[in-house]
C-alpha cells in the first residue's frame, strides 16, 4: 500500500464517470443498451472508492495524501513573482468518506433509475447526465485547490441544470432548470470574488498553501474586515449551492426533475457541496463570518421547516425538509460544530436519498401522482417501501438508534453551547423549534401517504410494490440510517470511530483576535496527534449541555411525532379547524412565505423594468439618434439629388437640346444640291466682304 497507488485509484474514481459519460453520450443514439455501460462504470467507481476509503482509513488515517501538477506555468511575472498554477488532489479522511457517499448514492440511483426511467425516450442521455454529474461532484470532493473546486462547482451546476430540465417539454421543468442555474450564479459571483481576493493575497489557489500563509499572519489587505468579507464571499457560493436563505428558492422548483435525480443531486450530494465547501474553508472563518453563517443556517432551517408543514406535494415536503436540514449543517459550521456538520451531511445524504427514492417508488406505483391528499393506506400495498421510508423518517426526526439522532443531537448540543458561550440564544431556539417541526411534518407525510384509508381508491387499486431494482437501493439506504454504522453506542457519537478517529476539528488559522474566544487554543491542550481542538471552556460547555440537548431534542422530537399522530392518524383534532383558526399563518406557510412572489415583484420585476427602460432608451434615444442622422443625410441627399437632377442634368440636357435644335435647323442647309452650296459660298463671300472690307 503506497501513496502513488492511492493517487492512481483516486484518478480512476474521478475519471471513470467521465469515460462513462463520453461513451454513453456518443453512442447513446446508436446503441440501445448504452446505459448498461454507464451503470457498470458506476459500480466499478463504487468498488474503487470503497477500496480508497478502506486504504486511506487503515493505512493513512493521520496523513493527508497530496498530489499536484503544474497546470499553467506563467514563469516569473513582474511585481508578482513566480506564478505557477497547480491543480491537484488532496486526500484526507473527509475526502474519502465524501467520495464514498457520492459514489454509493450515485450507484444506487443508477440502479433505481434503470426501472424508474424505463420507457423514457431519452433513456441513455439520462444516464450520461448522471455520469457527468458524478464526475463533477467527485471533482469537487477531491480537489486540493479552490480554483479546481470552482471549475467543478460550475460543472455540477451544469449537470444539475441539465437534469432538472430533463423533461424540457414541460415548461415548468425548463423554467425550474433556468431558475436553478441563475440563482446559483448569484452565489457563485460572490464565491468567485472571494477566490480572487485569496489569489491576490496569497498568489496561490491551493488550500494548504493559503492556510499556511494565513496561520503565519498574512491576511487580505492586512485587515480583519477583509478577512471576514472574503469568508462571507466564498460562503456565498455555499448559499447558492446549498440552497440557503435568501437563495433557497431554486431547490423546491428543482423537484421538476426526475425523482432519482432529486435524490442524488438535490438531496444527498450536490446540495451538500456547499456544506463541504464550508467545512473545507472552516479554518479561515473569522468570528463574524461564523456568526453570519450560523444565522443564515438558522434562518434557512426555520423558514424551510415552517413551509414544509403545509405542503401537499410529497416531493415538495421532502425538498423543504432538505433545505431545512442543509440549514442545520450550515448552522453547525457556523457554531463551530465542524465534525457534526460533516457527520450530519453524511447521515442526511443516506436517509434523505432513501426518502427521495422512496417517494420515487410511491410516485412510480401511483402513476405519477404526487399529491399526498390523494394517497393513504399504501402501507399494505408497498411494505418494503414503507419500512425503508419509515426508518429514514425516524432518522430525520432524530429518534434514538438512528444515524440522524446522533448527528442532529450533536448539532443541537453545538448550538446550545454556542448560545451559552456567546449569548446568541436565538440560534439554539431556532434549532430546537426546527427539530420539533421536522418530526411533525415528516410523520404527517408518512401517515398521509402510507397509513389510514386510501383516499383515491382507483389509483390505490393499481398501486403495487416496486420492482426489485428499485427496492434494493431503498433497503441499503435505510440500513445505512441505523446507528451501528457510525458508533457502537446508540446514544452518543463521541465513542464512535467516525468522530473520534477519523474527523478532527482542525485548528483555525485566522488571527486569534478575530476568532471566537472558545476557538482560541491555550497552552497544553494538544490532543489527537498535534491537531488542536477547542479550548477547555468550550469542551466543558459542550459536555455540560450534552444531556440537556439530548433530552430536549428527544422530548421535542417525540412531541412532534405525537402531534402528527393525534391529528392525522387518530384524527382527534381536525387539521382544517386549526388551519381555519390561524388562516393567515397557514396561508403564509402554504405560499412559502411569499418569497417567490416577493422576488417576482422586486428582482424579476426590477430586472424587467430595467430591461424595458433600456429597450425604451434603445428604441427611442439610440435608434432616434441613428434614425435622425439618417433622416438628415436623406434630406441632404434629396437636395443634392434635386440639384443634380435639375441644375446639372438640366444644363447637360439643355446643351444636348440646343445642339439638336441647331442641328434640325442647320440640316436644311445640307440639301446635297450643288447650287445651294454655291449660293451659300457667294452669300458668305459677300458677308465676309462687307465685314472685312478694307475700306
Amino acid at each position: 500500500m503506497n501513496e502513488s497507488l492511492l493517487i492512481n485509484i483516486t484518478l480512476a474514481v474521478l475519471f471513470l464517470p467521465l469515460i462513462g459519460f463520453t461513451f454513453t453520450v456518443l453512442s447513446g443514439g446508436k446503441i440501445k443498451k448504452a446505459f448498461t455501460f454507464e451503470v457498470f462504470i458506476s459500480s466499478i467507481t463504487l468498488i474503487l472508492s470503497v477500496f480508497l476509503l478502506y486504504a486511506k482509513i487503515s493505512a493513512f488515517v493521520e496523513k493527508d495524501i497530496l498530489f499536484s501538477f503544474s497546470w499553467i506555468n506563467f514563469g516569473i511575472l513582474p511585481k508578482w513573482g513566480e506564478l505557477n498554477i497547480k491543480l491537484g488532489i488532496k486526500l484526507d479522511n473527509i475526502t474519502v468518506i465524501m467520495a464514498f457517499v457520492v459514489t454509493l448514492i450515485s450507484f444506487l440511483v443508477h440502479i433505481f433509475s434503470v426501472e424508474y426511467m424505463k420507457g423514457d425516450k431519452r433513456y441513455n442521455r439520462y444516464f450520461a447526465y448522471l455520469g457527468i454529474f458524478t464526475f463533477s461532484m467527485l471533482g469537487i470532493v477531491f480537489t486540493d485547490n479552490i480554483l479546481g473546486m470552482y471549475i467543478f462547482w460550475e460543472l455540477v451546476g451544469l449537470s444539475s441544470y441539465l437534469l432538472i430540465g430533463f423533461w424540457f417539454e414541460k415548461k415548468s421543468a425548463s423554467d425550474a432548470g433556468k431558475k436553478a442555474f441563475i440563482v446559483n450564479r448569484i452565489g457563485d459571483i460572490g464565491m468567485f470574488a472571494g477566490i480572487l481576493i485569496l489569489f491576490f493575497t496569497y498568489h496561490t489557489f491551493n488550500f494548504n498553501e493559503i492556510f499556511e500563509q494565513m496561520s503565519a499572519g498574512k491576511i487580505p489587505f492586512n485587515s480583519d474586515f477583509w478577512m471576514t468579507l472574503t469568508g462571507i464571499l466564498i460562503f456565498m457560493g455555499a448559499i447558492g449551492k446549498s440552497a440557503q436563505f435568501p437563495l433557497h428558492v431554486w431547490l423546491p422548483d428543482a423537484m421538476e426533475g426526475p425523482t432519482p435525480v432529486s435524490a442524488l443531486i438535490h438531496a444527498a450530494t450536490m446540495v451538500a457541496a456547499g456544506v463541504y465547501l464550508s467545512v473545507r474553508i472552516f479554518v479561515m472563518l473569522t468570528a463574524d463570518t461564523m456568526l453570519v453563517i450560523a444565522i443564515i443556517g438558522a434562518i434557512t432551517s426555520f423558514i424551510a421547516a415552517t413551509i414544509a408543514l403545509t405542503q401537499n406535494d410529497i416531493k415538495k415536503v421532502l425538498a423543504y425538509s432538505t433545505v431545512s436540514q442543509l440549514g442545520y449543517m450550515i448552522m453547525a459550521v457556523g457554531v463551530g460544530a465542524y465534525a457534526f456538520a460533516f457527520f450530519h451531511l453524511v447521515t442526511h445524504a443516506f436517509f434523505k436519498a432513501c426518502l427521495f427514492l422512496g417517494s420515487g417508488s410511491v410516485i412510480h406505483s401511483m402513476h405519477h401522482e404526487q399529491d399526498i391528499q390523494n394517497m393513504g393506506g399504501l402501507r399494505k400495498k408497498m411494505p418494503l417501501t414503507y419500512i425503508s421510508f419509515l426508518v429514514s423518517t425516524l432518522a430525520i426526526s432524530g429518534v434514538p438508534f438512528t444515524s440522524g439522532f446522533l448527528s442532529k443531537d450533536g448539532i443541537l448540543a453545538g448550538t446550545l453551547a454556542f448560545g451559552k458561550l456567546t449569548g446568541h440564544w436565538l440560534i439554539p431556539i431556532a434549532a430546537f423549534t426546527v427539530a420539533l417541526m421536522t418530526a411533525f411534518y415528516m410523520f404527517r407525510l408518512v401517515i398521509l401517504t402510507f397509513h389510514g384509508e386510501p383516499r383515491d381508491v382507483h389509483k390505490f387499486e393499481h398501486a403495487h410494490e416496486s420492482p426489485k431494482l428499485m427496492v434494493i437501493p431503498l433497503i441499503v439506504l435505510s440500513l445505512l440510517s441505523l446507528f451501528i454504522f457510525y458508533t457502537p453506542n446508540p446514544v452518543s457519537p463521541d465513542q464512535g470511530w467516525f468522530l473520534s478517529e477519523w474527523i478532527k476539528t482542525p485548528s483555525q488559522v485566522v488571527p486569534e483576535n478575530s476568532r471566537f474566544d472558545f476557538l482560541i487554543n491555550s497552552a497544553g491542550e494538544q490532543t489527537n496527534h498535534g491537531k488542536i481542538i477547542h479550548s477547555v471552556e468550550y469542551t466543558e460547555t459542550l459536555h455540560s449541555v450534552h444531556y440537556p440537548a439530548l433530552f430536549l431534542s428527544l422530548i421535542l422530537g417525540g412531541l412532534g411525532i405525537l402531534i402528527a399522530f393525534v391529528i392525522y392518524q387518530w384524527k382527534k383534532i381536525n387539521p382544517d379547524a386549526i388551519t381555519a383558526k390561524i388562516k393567515p399563518l397557514y396561508l403564509f406557510s402554504l405560499n412559502k412565505w411569499y418569497i417567490d412572489e416577493l422576488y417576482d415583484k422586486t428582482f424579476i420585476a426590477g430586472t424587467l423594468l430595467v430591461s424595458r427602460l433600456s429597450a425604451w432608451f434603445d428604441t427611442n434615444l439610440v435608434d432616434g439618434i441613428v434614425n435622425g442622422s439618417a433622416y438628415v443625410i436623406k434630406s441632404f441627399s434629396n437636395i443634392v439629388g434635386w440639384f443634380d437632377k435639375y441644375i446639372i442634368d438640366g444644363f447637360v440636357n439643355f446643351t444636348a437640346f440646343l445642339s439638336g435644335f441647331l442641328g434640325i435647323g442647320l440640316r436644311r442647309l445640307q440639301t446635297g444640291k450643288v447650287q445651294t452650296y454655291i449660293i451659300l459660298v457667294i452669300v458668305s463671300a459677300i458677308i465676309l466682304f462687307v465685314f472685312f472690307r478694307p475700306f
Binding site: T671, G672, K673, V674, Q675, Y677, I678, I679, I682
Partner: protein, 102 residues
C-alpha cells in the same frame, strides 16, 4: 462720251452677275458650265481693262490668254464630268442630283 475704265468694269460686273445667276438658277449642267465661262470671261475683261488703263504693260493680256487656255481645259474636264453624270444618273439636271446630302 469717252469710253473709260468704269465702263469696262461695269460690263464685267454685269457679265459676272449674269454668270452667277446662270450657275445658280440653271438646271441643266451644261448651262451651269456656260455660267462658269461667263464668270471667267468677266474676269478676263477686268484683266484686259486694268492692263489697258493701268500701268501694267502687257501683264493683263497675258493673264487673259492664260485664262482662255484654262477655260478650254476646264471645259474639257467639266464636259467629261457631265458625261459621267449622265452615265450614272441618266440625267444631267443638277436639281435632281443630290447624293451629296447623304
Amino acid at each position: 462720251m469717252e469710253v473709260g475704265l468704269n465702263h469696262f468694269l461695269f460690263i464685267s460686273a454685269a457679265l459676272f452677275s449674269a454668270g452667277i445667276y446662270a450657275i445658280v438658277s440653271r438646271k441643266n449642267a451644261i448651262m451651269v458650265l456656260m455660267g462658269v465661262e461667263l464668270i471667267l470671261n468677266a474676269a478676263n475683261i477686268n484683266f484686259v481693262a486694268f492692263s489697258r488703263y493701268g500701268n501694267f504693260g502687257l501683264d493683263g493680256q497675258i493673264y487673259g490668254l492664260f485664262v482662255i487656255i484654262l477655260a478650254a481645259a476646264e471645259a474639257a474636264i467639266a464636259l467629261a464630268i457631265v458625261l459621267n453624270l449622265y452615265k450614272t444618273f441618266a440625267n444631267i439636271n443638277v436639281d435632281e442630283i443630290d447624293n451629296l446630302k447623304e
